[in-house]
Amino acid sequence: MSANYIRPDFDVVTEWVPKGASVLDLGCGDGELLARLQRERQTKGYGVEISDASVLACMERGLNVLQGNIESGLNLFEDAAFDVVILSQTLQATRHTEALVREVLRVGKSAIVTLPNFGHWSVRWQLGVGGRMPVSKRLPYQWYDTPNVHFSTITDFDVFCQEKGITVVRRAALAGGNQVNFLPNLRGETAVFQIRQ
């Protein structure tokens, strides 16, 4: 339960990844999601990570992990090499966001992107009323030490996809581990999108 609460998006991603799919998890961290996908969805795939500690953690789980910076390109991978490319809580920390999304949709037949929703009411409250950059469990960083450089709301990402001709296959907004369907951009803490070219 506690693990689910920390990463409720993993539940949705796991549900959306078809059984036996080939997956690429970009920014796979310690490999928790990749290991779960292997276990529950019999996927085959690879994680990409830049940090030494995370690469080691993935190796210790017996996962295929490739050390590298996803922002310097996905040129290790061929076109449409994967059924699903996963970007869980990674996109907001990338600099060349649009270029990366393009690369992701080149190597993946589809992609699942999870994002912290900057439209959540507590974020709006902290910034709008408190006048401070929001800090929360999902966004635990101060403005000066955050790795996150490109925040968006659920609506922002929808508009981004629309403008770039990217198809949103489905989306979910999550709060406290549950899906929220009413006012998702206000009530969702985390957003999960499945997109394709």
Partner: protein, 379 residues
């Protein structure tokens, strides 16, 4: 001497005779040959725990442990001792580890310095040109000798990593894990260029006698020394050399001459002299040529992915940030070809300052990764 508790301890080599002829890629044949090997740990009943360690340019079978009879046993440790032993990343309580000296070597296996039975003289330049696939075929016979159908893992750094990869290409069913460290899928023009300079240094030494220096009771020391000095420069990184030597002078001030002025010169001369004292010049030529010829994609119209198509092993590919001889980009070429086949592969780019030699260093992240690979192998 005090032997660390996680060392394999005192070891001794064994020479294994092979009486079946071996035909090389060049068409040349050896009617018989010996391979000198060392083993550590015990082969289990299922013969499923064997690991082969392939050596690089100047390596040999003495991979781990110490020699009791060495002039100074405490200085006789194997060249990859820090990796292998009870409790070390390649744990000899779990694995049976084999190190060998390749054909053409100068540490006990049949090579250019060995007496050619048909002439009664050392082979010299008559010794067949060896290639990585030739070595691998000789190694399969070594596996047969021990009754090993399938290696749990084959690993090596640099030229050793090339042999490990070649196994997965030529004998995919005989290796479950391939660890290729600081390797490349083929040499670049620059790499070949360095090798050629080293070979020219040896071949133009008047004491080389076209490879038949044994008959003249001389050794082309000047050539060997130069080739090792050059080699050393390519194994190290600019940063490390800067850190280690900088512009440190041997004496108080400039002497305005061509004797050793700088520490780096002294170091290179020392390394060159040491090497020239024990290494066979013909072996050096053969080893560098084996490097030059290595190009598994060549038989597949240059398509490396096609070369790996039949491989079934799980791969661990690692490269070092300071290695400019076989840079991380070269390892990524291997990774890309493996990914194109959807093979199991992990890749690590390890921070280091020691250049190409990093693969021999006990860098904590590197050794932790190797440990995780070996711990994950079922035997």
């Amino acid at each position: 001497m005090n032997i660390p508790s996680d060392s394999v301890g005192f070891v001794s080599p064994q020479k294994i005779a092979f009486e079946t002829p071996l035909t090389f890629a060049s068409g040349a044949t050896l009617d018989r040959y010996d391979l000198t090997v060392e083993t550590y740990g015990e082969l289990n009943a299922a013969r499923s725990n064997a690991v082969l360690v392939c050596h690089a340019l100047s390596g040999h079978h003495h991979v781990a442990g110490f020699y009791k009879d060495a002039p100074d046993p405490s200085k006789s440790e194997g060249w990859w001792d820090n990796l292998i032993g009870p409790g070390r990343p390649l744990d000899t309580r779990k694995f049976f580890v084999i190190g060998l000296n390749n054909l053409g070597g100068c540490h006990g296996s049949t090579g250019p310095g060995t007496t050619n039975p048909t002439t009664g003289k050392p082979f010299g330049n008559d010794f067949p040109i060896v290639t990585v696939p030739d070595w691998v075929r000789a190694q399969t016979r070594l596996a047969d000798h021990f009754g090993i159908d399938t290696f749990a893992a084959i690993l090596g750094g640099s030229l050793g990593g090339m042999q490990a990869m070649q196994w997965s290409i030529d004998f995919p069913e005989r290796v479950r894990n391939v660890l290729a460290i600081a390797a490349a899928p083929k040499l670049s023009a620059e790499n070949i260029g360095f090798n050629e300079v080293a070979r020219q240094a040896i071949r133009t030494d008047p004491d080389f006698h076209d490879g038949n220096f044994y008959a003249h009771n001389v050794v082309p020391k000047r050539g060997l020394r130069l080739s090792r000095m050059l080699g050393h420069l390519t194994y190290l990184s600019d940063d490390l050399m800067g850190e280690k030597f900088g512009r440190l002078l041997k004496g108080e001030d400039y002497q305005f001459g061509f004797d050793v002025e700088f520490e780096v010169e002294s170091y290179l001369r020392y390394q060159g002299d040491k090497f020239a004292g024990y290494f066979d010049a013909n072996t050096y030529l053969l080893m560098t040529r084996a490097l030059d010829y290595f190009d598994p994609a060549r038989a597949f119209d240059g398509n490396l992915a096609a070369a790996f198509a039949k491989s079934t092993a799980k791969f661990f590919i690692a490269a070092f940030t300071s290695d400019w001889r076989f840079s991380p980009a070269r390892s990524k070429e291997i990774v890309r070809a493996l990914l194109a086949n959807k093979h199991d592969v992990s890749f690590a780019e390890i921070e280091s300052v020691e250049g190409h030699d990093s693969f021999l260093m006990p860098i904590p992240q590197y050794h932790a990764l190797l440990r995780s690979v070996f711990e994950g192998i079922k035997v």
